[in-house]
């Protein structure tokens, strides 16, 4: 019998066996809807989640309920999409012309961006500094006065009564743009990274300069040092991993993988690359609109951070703990992409968002400052100062199924294990990887 037929037979066997195998589970142990809902929303603690995973894996009643909830959730999303009013775009009649127009736009934006980037390279280092981001300075009078007015809040501008508002807005936009550019280089989205892996590896072998991640990491350190410390309403510490405007940029960075050509590229092209071509009257309104979006994004991100902070502080979300040689210093990595650090044995935590789309599954901390993390989608992050995280070039693995483990010796040496058990080691901080025996 062919292997495919055997697979079919095995699938049938699994179906029948799993459907009937509910022995040892009593319905009185089944959780209340309150708990099911919290499990569904991933709001249970690590201990509770593990306990209920075990129960659900053996209880067909609870599984049926969760399955029904998943189906009901699907309806929610479908309704939301329908309510958005853009469904007509999906009809085949519109699909082809729209796709063609979109492709042309993307091409034009790409060419514009490419030209603009070649001019921008010389100013790259300056742009990474948040206090020196008057990108729009030579472009519009309103933006020209933006940078100085940021530091002296109620600006004494000579440009008229409406000027201060515009100054603030353009300042925010400029900072958000700078942060967005930085993040797009520091933490590229997984698909982009995977495509670029081979080329990047080749570049790094030939070039005598330090890898891109390291240089960006140091720029990031500068920004972190300049950023004011943040606290939430309850006075709990939140580690300022990124500069203040980063929440807006973080949002746009998070959206980038799905909509690669959408806001960032277009915005850059319009406001910076071709300033002379844009109408002066339209510029402030566009900036105001962008700034409103950024402000809304910042509010959303702040609310998410607040809930995440609260959940983590009471051990409410799933994740794993990484121990360091010092028993007082611990790392906690949550499923939602946050990492917490405790220096008092877990009594208090400082949290950072990892700015990544990967799902981290393992970590190793050879010292109190150094920690390596690996994700199922192939990302490797490392901190050497206990504060800032840099992405490490992963090994190139055929038939890659994600990482499952890591064991680090110091900031340069580590061995990663893939999901299918293959192991790769580095002794130069990820610049080169060897198959470990």
């Amino acid at each position: 019998m062919a292997s495919r037929e055997e697979d079919k037979a095995m699938a049938g066997l699994l179906r029948r066996t799993l459907a009937s195998d509910a022995a040892g589970v009593e319905s009185k142990d089944c959780p209340a809807p309150e708990v099911l809902a919290a499990y569904f929303d991933r709001a249970l603690g690590v201990d509770e989640t593990a306990r209920y995973d075990l129960h659900f894996s053996r209880c067909s009643r609870c599984r049926e309920q969760l399955a029904a909830m998943a189906r009901a959730g699907d309806v929610d999303e479908a309704q939301k999409e329908a309510a958005s009013g853009w469904n007509w775009l999906r009809t085949p009649r519109w699909l082809m012309p729209t796709a063609a127009a979109f492709a042309v736009l993307v091409l034009m934006a790409g060419i514009t961006l490419y030209k603009w980037k070649s001019v921008e390279v010389a100013n790259e280092v300056t742009m990474l500094r948040p206090d020196a981001v008057p990108l729009a300075a030579p472009e519009s009078p309103a933006a020209a006065s933006a940078a100085p007015s940021e530091s002296s809040a109620p600006a004494t501008s000579a440009s008229g009564a409406a000027e201060p508002k515009n100054q603030m807005l353009s300042g925010d936009v400029a900072r958000a743009k700078a942060a967005e550019q930085m993040y797009s280089r520091v933490l590229p989205s997984p698909p982009q990274k995977k495509q670029a892996t081979a080329a990047q590896g080749a570049r790094e072998k030939n070039a005598p300069v330090a890898p891109a991640t390291d240089s960006i990491s140091s720029a990031e350190n500068t920004m972190v040092a300049e950023a004011p410390p943040a606290t939430n309403a309850q006075g709990l510490d939140i580690a300022p991993m990124k500069p203040v405007p980063s929440s807006a940029a973080r949002d746009s960075a998070a959206r980038a993988p799905q909509e690669e050509t959408k806001p960032s590229g277009a915005a850059k092209g319009k406001t910076s690359a071709r300033p002379a071509a844009s109408a002066p009257a339209a510029a402030p309104s566009r900036l105001a609109a962008t700034s409103n979006l950024a402000a809304r994004g910042a509010r959303d991100a702040a609310e998410r951070a607040r809930i995440q902070q609260a959940q983590m502080s009471s051990n409410l979300i799933a994740g794993f703990m990484v121990q360091t040689p010092d028993t007082n210093v611990l790392w906690m990595v949550s499923d939602s992409g946050s990492v917490g650090r405790s220096e008092d044995g877990g009594a208090s935590w400082k949290y950072q968002s990892l700015e990544t789309h990967d799902h981290f599954v393992a970590g190793s901390a050879p010292t109190v400052k150094i920690c390596w993390l690996v994700g199922v989608h192939g990302e490797i992050l490392r901190t050497i100062d206990g504060k800032t995280w840099a992405e490490i070039q992963p090994p190139i693995v055929a038939n890659f199924e994600g990482f499952a483990g890591i064991e680090a010796k110091d900031e340069s040496s580590a061995m990663v294990t893939t999901a299918d058990g293959r192991r790769f080691s580095t002794t130069d901080g990820g610049k080169t990887w060897d198959v470990a025996k």
Binding site: R15, E34, A43, E64, A68, M69, Q79
Partner: protein, 299 residues
């Protein structure tokens, strides 16, 4: 469900009035809902007791962290509705009633959805009275999830329980189902091949053993996929993984299970390759599952 609602609150001293006021402030609810801090404090105490039932925390920071993680606006709405506030109820109706019917349709299908949603709707309003007091289902909402998710969970529970009750009754009442008749048939009537039952029982036994060694998450993914028939995206939502990850992990688990089963059949049951192939061939056909399960237990 009543059993899950604590009547006494061990966390009585833990949630202060100030904490309750903080939550109300965060909820930013309309003034005409007339929800007092004392009322929300009582609910928060129950919520804390429910979360920390096994190990009550002794520091205010942990409690505050927990309270901050609650869905404040949803909790305030539920409390106000439970109080019988008309403005809050209007707000709930406007915001959630269409959603309730939609979810009921998705869970129970068009025909049964109306009845399912309406029965829940009545309980939410509090038509039931206990000792002269109106009892609303909203009393059981403790803010740990979104109100929408909680409503889905209740709908799902009602539907699944009713369905299981009906299935149980039918399996004994309705003897016209050929599948059920087959499952109750005597072994001698099942097949002319005497080896068939033995092979299937062996296969069944080693498969159960292989499933028993799996991690809870792996087993859960398999069950969602093979038994509940969920899509990869739906499974991903339930286990908090991307659908590509779900697919990869499902495939890995399936490989592991098969490897385990074949190794056990070769090593423990001493089957040859030809006999192994024969097992798979038998497994592709229909057979009375309950019987082979019983036989495999004897093996």
């Amino acid at each position: 469900m009543q059993a899950h609602m604590p009547t006494t609150s061990p966390a009585k001293q833990i949630v202060s009035l100030k904490m309750a006021q903080g939550l109300l402030q965060r909820a930013a609810m309309p003034a005409d809902w007339q929800l007092s801090p004392e009322r929300i404090q009582r609910t928060l105490e129950r919520s804390v007791a429910h979360r920390f039932a096994n190990a009550p925390p002794n520091d205010a920071r942990t409690i505050q962290g927990y309270l901050d993680s609650l869905h404040a606006a949803d909790l305030a709405l539920a409390c106000a509705c439970s109080n019988g506030n008309a403005a809050a109820w209007d707000s709930f109706v406007a915001q959630y009633r269409p959603e309730l019917y939609r979810a009921a349709r998705a869970i129970a299908g068009e025909a049964a959805s109306r009845e399912l949603a309406d029965s829940l709707y009545a309980e939410l309003y509090g038509l039931r009275e206990v000792a002269g007091q109106r009892k609303s289902l909203f009393d059981y909402f403790l803010g740990r999830s979104k109100l929408t998710t909680w409503l889905h969970a209740i709908l799902a529970q009602r539907y699944v329980d009713a369905f299981r009750r009906a299935r149980h009754t039918e399996s004994f009442d309705d003897d016209s189902d050929p599948g059920d008749r087959a499952s109750l048939a005597a072994p001698a009537q099942l097949s002319s091949d005497p080896e068939r039952e033995r092979y299937l029982a062996m296969l069944q036994g080693v498969l159960l053993a292989a499933l028993g060694t799996l991690a809870a998450r792996d087993r859960l993914r398999l069950a969602y996929y093979y038994v509940e028939g969920l899509t990869l995206a739906q499974i991903g939502k339930l286990v908090g993984e991307h659908e590509a990850t779900v697919s990869r992990k499902l495939e890995r688990t399936r490989r592991e299970v098969r490897k385990h089963v074949e190794a056990a059949l070769r090593r423990e049951k001493k089957l040859s390759e030809a006999q192994l192939r024969l097992c798979y061939e038998y497994a592709r056909e229909e057979w009375p599952f309950d019987l082979t399960q019983a036989l495999s237990a004897r093996e």
